[in-house]
Symmetry: none
Subunit: 274 residues, 2 copies
């Protein structure tokens, strides 16, 4: 039993799709969420920059005495999984393995599509981990670099013409490869799932990395005996490195309920200075 | 006469539109360009952090014995222009004043539009400086946060449907205010000027801050008698604080020709350590 909070971070708002699932699945747990909105997007950055951001964000969350850390960011998860020096001394998960495992369970025809940021797709991490789990699967990948800016700028409403157009541009070729399963390899993408589904077709199973990661967190807490026992009121604290007002408004929309506390501002500069 | 190079910096790639104009206008001059891609974006940072970044970037450029420094970045230009302690001891210009002065010269009806990133528009710096120059002008502002991601992701070809749609979305309301002059208040925007022009109409004069800044630099060099004399071959060195490979590719696209030398990597940590 361990009533300390779980720390979650993402480049911005996307990780809230994981937080939403975590709160639903683990109502006794408390959370500290950090959205690095001052440095979003992560998708075009170099591996060394991304490793530095991961270190800094983890160090920030550790100030809040978290019992576990979740990198709810496809890009960071991919980069860390390719880093031989990455060997955390604390309970940790990214979104990569839970999403890859779910896709391997879901596919019938052995054809899996993966979409993500440029850094994620360039790293080849999804392809590599899928092949570890299921060697004979065929993987079709496509970078969708504009999806994160679209989500972060609120191009979310049903049938938004810009989002529809960009989705068609990125995904028509991938749909032609006829995968039966598509990994939304970035936690922002579930927020525009309807536009993605319209290009891919209803027969394709979309894998939501936040949802799969929430299940993985639940399993890890149980296996280690560090679940919260419900004796304390659970809560969530929110931190962002820019635009805390906008963040609060959009976060409430993503979570489907108002935030229980104001979003607290973290100076980007303080992250690297500490 | 002074054959030393001119130093230019920006948070990333946008300042290359100024560099392109400078190279066209001043073919005898040599340049040192620094894109602070490891710390981009600047827009969300505090004024004291931005003042520190300006100091560090200037100090970096001064290692290359530059005769003049150009801040080809709207955010830095506004922060420095609002700082009473900012009093450079070397020839210096930002992009804000040259663009604002050009707009005041161009307008006939006294109605000026300004577009920029969210941070630039929120700061009100363009509006303030325009009013200093021409108190009775009316200024209409609009933030266009998706334009930078569109440019950075190459949505540049003539009549790209996504860029056209986003431009219409951002600018229709501004066009309805009937300005006769529009400041492209971000150095990325000249790259999608045709899409902007199609919404604003042919009668609106578009002010390119890079172009106006290049003219201001030419005037400053002449006034101080520190132009290069053409006796030495001019060249440009490129530095970036991350992602030097992508930087080289996109830089070539911005400049309309391949770079004459490889982009050199500057460690972000070294900037503040020096």
């Amino acid at each position: 039993m361990d009533n300390r909070p779980i720390g979650i971070f993402d480049s911005g708002l996307g990780g809230l799709t994981a937080l939403k699932e975590l709160r639903r699945l683990l109502p006794n747990e408390s959370f500290v969420y950090f959205g690095d909105t001052g440095r979003v997007p992560y998708g075009a950055r170099s591996p060394q920059t991304l490793r530095r951001f991961a270190r800094e964000n983890i160090r920030f969350l550790q100030h809040y005495d978290v019992k576990m850390i979740v990198a709810a960011c496809g890009t960071i998860s991919s980069i860390l999984s390719e880093d031989p020096a990455w060997d955390p001394t604390f309970p940790f998960t990214g979104v990569l393995r839970p999403a890859a495992e779910a896709a391997c369970r879901a596919t019938r025809c052995g054809r899996i599509g993966v979409i993500g940021t440029s850094a994620t797709i360039r790293s080849g991490s999804y392809e590599r981990i899928i092949r570890q789990i299921m060697p004979n699967v065929q993987v079709f990948s496509r970078a969708c670099p504009l999806f994160v800016p679209l989500v972060e700028n609120g191009y979310l409403e049903e049938q938004n013409p810009v989002t529809e157009l960009v989705a068609r541009d990125y995904l028509s070729g991938l749909a032609a490869e006829r995968p039966d399963t598509l990994i939304l390899g970035c936690t922002h993408y579930p927020l525009i799932a309807p536009a993605i589904r319209r290009v891919m077709g209803d027969g394709v199973t979309l894998i939501d990395p936040g949802k799969e990661t929430a299940a993985a967190v639940q399993a890890m807490l149980s296996a280690r005996g560090i679940c919260a026992d419900g004796s304390q009121t659970s809560d969530t604290r929110y931190f962002a490195s820019a635009d805390t007002e906008d963040f609060g408004t959009i976060a409430a929309r993503f979570l489907g309920e108002p935030l229980e506390s104001a979003v607290e501002l973290v100076e980007v500069d303080a992250l690297s200075r500490e």
